[in-house]
């Protein structure tokens, strides 16, 4: 579904990603872990199409198409979804107006009919249950004044509404207490199927207790330095990142 080959990315003149390769197939959950500043969020943002980065070389194909050629909205329309680490507050646009616009723009791009008001509300009310979203948040401005937990729930709620094929969760666990973490993780698990895939970017292992990955990759200084199964995450939890750093330094 997603194939990244030797991806190198700069911010201004600084190389942040130094040759990343990764394959993700439908039905899989990949965790990307690593210490702060290793390039995890950059990878997530590049995949979603943020243009403050410069792709120097490498290829990214998504469902056999060149992802890097696509505008952010095209990527979303094809089925890429990024759950933001810091969801943006947009005063003056209500959550519901925003969602309805997004759902219908995606439907339009996929050649589907617009949802009428009734069908939209029905879908919305059904998907709200996925993350136990406070209905009051729907009529408020998008993310404005939401608590950290409310913002993250709202991201997963959007994901449920848009039904992506590839969802990238960027530090979705940060700022969540354990109850909210469980709710969000349960929401994600309920959306998992054979046809979609997840990339879970996280610093800590605790989210992976609830969203169990098939593969764990450790990103350090812009490279994937170690890949393994969910046991690798447990090992990191226990030993921290220092041993990885040491291993890398020894080799180089």
């Amino acid at each position: 579904m997603l194939s990244i080959k030797d991806l190198r990315v700069n911010i201004e003149d600084k190389e942040i990603l130094k040759g990343i390769s990764l394959d993700v197939k439908p039905g899989e959950v990949h965790a990307i872990m690593g210490p702060n500043g290793s390039g995890k969020s950059t990878l997530a943002s590049v995949l979603a199409g943020r243009d403050s980065f410069e792709v120097k070389s490498g290829e990214v194909s998504f469902l056999e198409e060149d992802l890097l050629e696509m505008a952010p909205e095209e990527r979303a329309q094809k089925g890429v979804f990024l759950a933001f680490q810091y969801p943006v507050e947009i005063p003056g646009v209500t959550n519901t107006t925003f969602l309805r616009t997004a759902v219908n723009e995606i439907r339009k791009a996929r050649g589907q009919e617009k949802l009428d008001a009734v069908s939209f509300l029905k879908l919305r009310n059904e998907k709200m249950k996925v993350v136990d979203l406070d209905p009051e948040l729907l009529n408020r401005s998008l993310n404005e004044g939401f608590s950290g937990g409310e913002k993250k729930r709202n991201e997963i709620f959007q994901m449920a509404m848009l039904e992506p094929k590839l969802a990238i969760l960027d530090e979705t666990d940060s700022g969540l207490d354990i109850d909210a973490l469980k709710t969000v993780a349960n929401g994600v698990n309920s959306l998992k199927s054979e046809n979609n895939a997840f990339i879970v970017v996280t610093h800590y292992q605790r989210l992976l207790d609830y969203i169990v990955p098939d593969y764990v990759h450790v990103l350090y200084k812009g490279k994937i330095v170690k890949s393994g199964t969910k046991e690798l995450a447990l090992e990191l939890e226990e030993k921290g990142y220092d041993w990885i750093k040491e291993e890398v330094e020894t080799i180089s």
């Binding site: 979303a76 003056g92 925003f98 616009t101």
Partner: protein, 425 residues
């Protein structure tokens, strides 16, 4: 050209006084005429007109008294859908079809200014041109030409049930119209009313309207005032509104400006009593070569009043916006609360905003804040919307609307709000 044509019309009007020659009203008009003859039209050397050049307007040859092109049956087409109001239609500055359709309430007096000069002479003599100073040539022009316009009086403790709508229809198919209208509004003690002014342009010729409001709000009265300026790039407009507020009164002004060749608005509010409340909400949405200048001033003379101002601009193309907001707090006006905010969204590299807040405070126990921001569309917000599948153009539209909604949401009449939103989109 404007000057000569104006003086010729004033001369003509003054020959036809029908017994008004000794009135205070006529004395004020003559004073204004003398002043207009003497002073020059403002230039950009004048601090108050620094960013607004009216040279092209002044040199244009307009058609004065260009009446009669409006078909009677067509007036209904210029009402706002779903807005039940007392509609008054002006055809290039002349009140048409007055009273045929108006079934007025007992507490409301609504009549052409030229009738009120006789039937309401004591009020007209007391108030006409005694609050609004002839501080520039355009106001002097308006006062000297005063004849067309409406007189509105709301009786003591009376609440008017429907809004009053003044509709200026600019017929610019065959003419290049110039006109001046003058409204005098007296809200008596404890009364309450809503006034909506809007213009509709028919035709593409150049036009100029010089409109002025003199509004007197007595103790404990409430007055809501909407001024909707939907213009094309051939329309120019000079609007001056002077509001005099007595103690415990409330006045809210909502100003919407969409495009225009040269549009200049002056909103001057004089808080004569204590415990007044004043709101000024404005939005200007400009594109092409439009030029819109909003000057406001509020004078806190007595203690315990609140004034609140929010003006927002969305400027695209080669358009220019000007905002100048003055707040005066006199020494006596302790415990004043005055807020002012002007925010601008520039959508193109050639869009311009000149913004200048001016605070002059002589009292020491007051709360005054002001702020001004100017920027482009927030890239983070744009990316967020696009990452949810919303196209670039649609995302921009949502963000621009969101920016403006803070002001548009203040409009309390749904039918009016819907109409304005449609006109602005």
């Amino acid at each position: 050209m404007l000057k000569e044509q104006t003086l010729a019309l004033v001369e003509k009007n003054f020959k036809n006084l029908n017994g008004l020659s000794d009135s205070q009203f006529q004395k004020k008009r003559e004073e204004a005429k003398d002043l207009f003859e003497k002073v020059e039209l403002p230039t950009t050397k004048d601090e108050e007109w620094k960013y607004t050049n009216i040279k092209n307007i002044a040199n244009e040859s307009f058609d004065f008294e260009a009446f009669g092109s409006l078909k009677k049956g067509r007036l209904k087409g210029h009402t706002i859908e779903g807005l039940d109001a007392y509609y008054l239609f002006f055809d290039n500055g002349k009140l048409v079809d007055f009273a045929e359709s108006l079934d007025l309430e007992n507490g409301l007096t609504l009549k052409p200014l030229k009738d009120a000069i006789k039937s309401e002479s004591s009020l007209v003599d007391q108030h006409f041109s005694s609050h609004l100073e002839n501080k520039n040539a355009f106001i002097a022009q308006n006062t000297a030409l005063a004849s067309e316009g409406v007189f509105i009086k709301i009786d003591k403790n009376y609440t008017v049930k429907k809004p009053i709508a003044i509709v200026n229809i600019i017929s610019a198919n065959e003419y290049k119209p110039f006109f001046a209208t003058r409204n005098l509004i007296v809200a008596e003690e404890g009364s309450s009313a809503t006034l909506i002014e809007y213009s509709i342009k028919v035709g593409n010729n150049k036009s100029l309207q010089n409109t002025a409001n003199e509004i007197v709000i007595s103790r404990n009265a409430k007055f809501e005032h909407y001024q909707i300026q939907i213009n094309s790039e051939s329309s120019s407009e000079i609007n001056t509104s002077h509001v005099s507020q007595e103690g415990d009164s409330r006045y809210s002004n909502y100003k919407v400006s969409n495009n225009g060749w040269v549009v200049r608005n002056d909103l001057d509010i004089d808080l004569k009593g204590s415990n007044c409340e004043t709101n000024m909400f404005g939005i200007y949405k400009l594109d092409g070569k439009s030029h819109v200048d909003n000057h406001t001033s509020i004078n806190h003379r007595e203690p315990h009043s609140i004034s609140n101002q929010l003006y927002k601009g969305v400027i695209d193309g080669n358009a220019t916006g000007v905002f100048n907001g003055k707040i005066y707090v006199q020494q006596k006006a302790q415990k004043t609360n005055a807020f002012q905010s002007n925010n601008n969204l520039l959508l193109s590299d050639n869009a311009t905003i000149n913004t200048k807040p001016q605070l002059e405070i002589w009292a020491d126990d007051v709360k005054c804040t002001h702020g001004s921001t100017t920027g482009a569309i927030d890239e983070e917000a744009l990316f967020y919307l696009r990452s949810r599948g919303i196209s670039l153009s649609q995302s921009k539209k949502l963000l621009i609307e969101a920016f403006g909604n803070e002001v548009l949401d203040k409009i309390k009449i749904d039918a009016l709000k819907n109409w304005v939103v449609e006109k602005l989109s």
